[in-house]
């Protein structure tokens, strides 16, 4: 295991941020830590690279106890923080040089590595432009480039694509896949479920400082919800009318006026909706159940009928 957390807790005053959390991140995969804001994701990451000390439990990274081997562990991992930390007056190249020195890289290795990460993240066109003149997407790529300077065996990305446009997100995802293919273990936090589903081999869903469930995205979906989702706008009365006499009530989730039904086969429900509506054909979305549905179901916004 690259990262191994056992019954880890962290309290800030009276408030538990992480509560008895256990987690294993195997080598060479992309592992996603998913959870709503305030679930304890960033605190968990900070404990893994040793900046936050756990109130209880043990943390091993690369098989080493983090509290005893801070420098040795940090020399082998890279972290991209949620907020970009760049020196705005300097160019990307100069930023990379400064950061490489934090890892005690020396010339000529330092310059060689700067060239490599610039090429890897397509920063070449603006490598000599002060960072403050660069776009948000460019700055984010540079922030990730910094965390690659030491050729990390474990790359920790805290919400890497928040606030980026779709093209930049796609480009970053492909870079992250390349890194994983080259053997880097990637630990990522996100609250974009599409990102997790496309990128992660395994995910752990965290809520209120605990792992609620863990597995591959496909397994998690199969374990918690039926494969077909039917979404429609629907009052609570209509909802009860629709499930009345339909055998066992299907699992469903309401967000305001929007209800999603989860079914093995959507056809009978669609049929019932059409019959119920008669002339007024309301719009219905039928789609495969995704990680977003599982996430909402597990983090407490789901309604469950018949239980």
């Amino acid at each position: 295991m690259i990262v191994r957390l056992r019954t880890v807790s962290k309290n800030f005053g009276d408030r538990p941020a992480v509560n008895n959390l256990s987690l294993d991140v195997p080598a060479g995969i992309c592992f996603g830590l998913l959870g709503p804001n305030g679930a304890g994701k960033t605190t968990t990451l900070r404990m893994i690279y040793g900046v936050t000390r756990p109130s209880g439990g043990t943390i091993q990274v690369f098989g080493l106890d983090i509290s005893q081997n801070l420098r040795a562990v940090r020399a082998r991992l890279g972290v991209t923080l949620q907020q970009n930390v760049l020196i705005e007056a300097l160019t990307p190249e100069e930023n990379l040089r400064v950061f490489g020195r934090y890892h005690l890289l020396r010339e000529p290795e330092l310059s060689r590595r700067i060239g490599e990460v610039i090429a890897f993240l397509d920063l070449g066109s603006h490598a000599k432009v002060p960072v403050k003149q660069l776009s948000g997407g460019f700055q984010r790529r540079l922030a990730i480039a910094l965390s690659l300077m030491n050729r990390p065996e474990l790359l920790i990305l805290d919400e890497p694509t928040t606030g980026l446009d779709p093209a930049v997100r796609l480009a970053l995802w492909s870079r992250i896949r390349e890194l994983r293919a080259a053997g880097t273990t990637v630990l990522i936090t996100t609250h974009y479920m599409d990102e997790a589903q496309r990128l992660c081999d395994r995910v752990a869903i965290v809520s209120a400082g605990k792992v609620v469930d863990e597995g591959s995205p496909a397994d998690l979906i199969a374990a918690h919800l039926a494969p077909e989702a039917v979404e429609l706008d629907c009052s609570p009365e209509d909802e009860s009318a629709l499930i009345d006499g339909a055998g066992s009530a299907p699992r469903r989730l309401r967000m305001g006026n929007r209800v999603t039904f989860y079914l093995d086969n959507a056809a009978p429900l669609i049929d019932r909706i059409r019959r119920h509506d008669r002339e007024t054909h309301r719009p219905i979305v039928v789609r495969p159940t995704n990680l977003e549905d599982v996430f909402l179901a597990l983090t407490g916004t789901s309604l469950e009928a018949g239980r």
Partner: protein
């Protein structure tokens, strides 16, 4: 204790890399400040003063102004600049994702503040040496006081910067701490001769008074037992403040 000098130097080099971009704008005001005092007070006002403590007035204030240049060089660095790196740029959060530890951050910042003190104090010393205001070689004994003064004021400033809740409080630090020190630490007149007998200890508390007394002794080429106390004060106060700052840095950067 977990200090690694190579990592501290990496912190130092970050600041040096930024300074290389901005030194032209930074160095001029800091450099001119003591020169302006030298001209206005030393030459202008000094023309009306026959002598002070046995020398010309200009010769009296020059050693103190060397220390003031060092004090100012260090102070700007460990106040506004550290506050910005800590609270706005989050530079230390990024450093702590690498093998750099809080002690390295503190050491690197202190070394950098001393460097700034040496740049300003050294420039001013060069000016007065060229102007023939530094009696050589004895005035050279004042040179080690430049980094020592830098260390002392870096330690004071960093201890302050790590504790204050908002950046506006630095105006208190400058106008209610550094400015009175500048005016009352033997730079412009012998404080002891103006204090009532029961208040002589007040002078000994002022941190700037000690390097000024040492610098003046170096310029005059004379030694006295009290200078030993000045050295002990400077090193002791720096050590105590740094020990305190170490805990503050640890607490601010980790949890």
């Amino acid at each position: 204790m977990s200090l690694s000098l190579p990592h501290a130097l990496a912190v130092w080099r970050r600041n040096a890399a930024m300074y290389r971009r901005t030194w032209k704008w930074n160095i001029l005001p800091n450099f001119f400040e003591p020169v302006l005092y030298l001209v206005s007070i030393g030459i202008g006002l000094g023309a009306y003063i026959n002598e002070m403590a046995g020398t010309s007035y200009l010769a009296f204030i020059v050693p103190g102004l060397v220390c003031v240049a060092a004090m100012n060089g260090a102070s700007f660095e460990v106040t506004y600049n550290i506050y910005v790196r800590l609270n706005f740029e989050k530079a230390y959060d990024a450093m702590l994702t690498t093998p750099i530890e809080p002690d390295d951050v503190l050491a690197g910042e202190i070394l950098w503040a001393i460097t700034r003190a040496c740049i300003y104090g050294g420039c001013f010393f060069a000016v007065i040496a060229v102007a023939g205001l530094a009696p050589l070689p004895s005035a050279l004994w004042a040179l080690p006081l430049i980094p020592l003064t830098g260390l002392l004021f870096a330690a004071i400033g960093i201890a302050f910067s790590l504790r204050i809740p908002n950046i506006d409080l630095f105006s208190f630090y400058f106008t209610l701490f550094l400015t009175p020190l500048f005016l009352f630490s033997d730079v412009f007149f012998p404080l002891k001769e103006r204090l009532p007998a029961g208040w002589l200890w007040v002078g000994e508390v002022l941190p700037l008074l000690h390097p000024v007394r040492l610098a003046r002794a170096a310029f005059n080429g004379e030694a006295a037992p009290v200078l030993l106390w000045d050295v002990v004060y400077m090193l002791g106060a720096s050590a105590l403040l740094l020990a305190w700052a170490r805990r503050s840095v640890e607490r601010r950067l980790t949890n």
